[in-house]
Amino acid sequence: MSTLGFPLFPEQASTMAPRVDQLYYFLFGVSVFFATLILILIVTFAVKYRRRSDDERPRPISGNLGLEILWTLVPLSLTLVMFVWGARLYFITFYPPSDALEINVVAKQWMWKAQHAEGRAEIDELHIPTGRPVKLIMTSQDVIHDFFVPAFRVKNDVLPGRYTTLWFEATKPGAYRLFCSQYCGTQHSGMIGYIIALEPAEFQAWLSGGATAVSMATAGENLFQKLGCVSCHAPNDTGRGPSLVGLLGKAVRLQSGASVIADEDYIRESILNPQAKIVAGYQPIMPTFKGLISEDGIMQIIAYLKSLKREEGAQVKK
């Protein structure tokens, strides 16, 4: 808070925030320098060389190669510094640490739904622990949205039909504003909420609080049974479909000869558009589950498949 009675800079509440601010100050400094330079030059020239009589015929100066090179190279090298610095920062924001806590977020006109792996779900609020990287896996049920937390200096588009991720690590407890920053229709400005950062212990308490929530993996497992997935995708490769145990993150050979990494997007596509990528050695017989399963449901199934991976595929209950 500044002495003006209103803030001039946003709060720094994530590990990212000071890094972004550092680069911002650098850019700000460069800008102030050049703006002042131009201002001083213009004012000086304007005063010093103001027209004193209408007969003045100043001598023409057609240019100066040295100066041109100077003011081409200086901005060029400065912008390259900015580019490299900015790109490095971007890589950090782009790739979440592997030990991050994963939380699923589904956006829809005009609300944010978050679901924790342990089962607690919330709307327009997101509880997170401080001091631990949090990775959001996000998708939209309708139009393009954008998850934006100014105090964390992070933001990413939330797209329909695809997963995007966002990660941050909160540094101090508190409630921070969450905005949708991609225009998404009538109540766009109402699609706001709070990120509530808690001390790890409090967060654990919060997680286990609430109603008797079913964990996402369990919910996914129930869906897996209910939709009949299990009848083809048996844990050992005996079913009509490939086994899904330990699938996530693994490379899959396709009928077309190509191979893809089985990530969240791949699973999602295989559920909604099963014919798009057929695993080598299997028939294209799987029906689409479009309309039968919600975005939340898909995320639960993915959570379930991930849990299979962790437990080395021992226990797919029949």
Binding site: F91, Y95, G249, I261, D263
Partner: protein, 102 residues
């Protein structure tokens, strides 16, 4: 520029014949499985040859000024830029996520 360059009917007929032969061969080649992306490459190569024949002779560019060449080139060059620059996103999207992301 010499737009009044008159080409003989014989020559036009030769180009015309070549175009028809190329059309039939591209349709024929489509039935043969050349494997991989080769089918597409062959089809587009034939289409490019046909387009060049039309541009150079039917459209008289072969006999036109440098300026015409520049604008013909600019059109096709620009479409290449559009294609390559835009394809960098979807192509690198996977690349980034699979290669560096892990």
């Amino acid at each position: 520029m010499n737009p009044q360059h008159v080409i003989s009917i014989r020559f036009y007929a030769t180009i015309f014949g070549a175009l028809l032969v190329l059309t039939l061969s591209t349709a024929g080649a489509a039935f043969i499985d050349l494997g991989g992306n080769l089918n597409t490459i062959v089809a587009l190569a034939i289409a490019t040859v046909k387009a060049l024949l039309v541009i150079l002779f039917f459209m008289h560019v072969r006999y036109s000024s440098r300026l015409t060449w520049v604008f013909v080139g600019a059109g096709f060059f620009w479409i290449l830029i559009l294609l390559t620059l835009t394809m960098t996103d979807p192509l690198t999207r996977d690349w980034l996520e699979t290669t560096i992301g892990r």
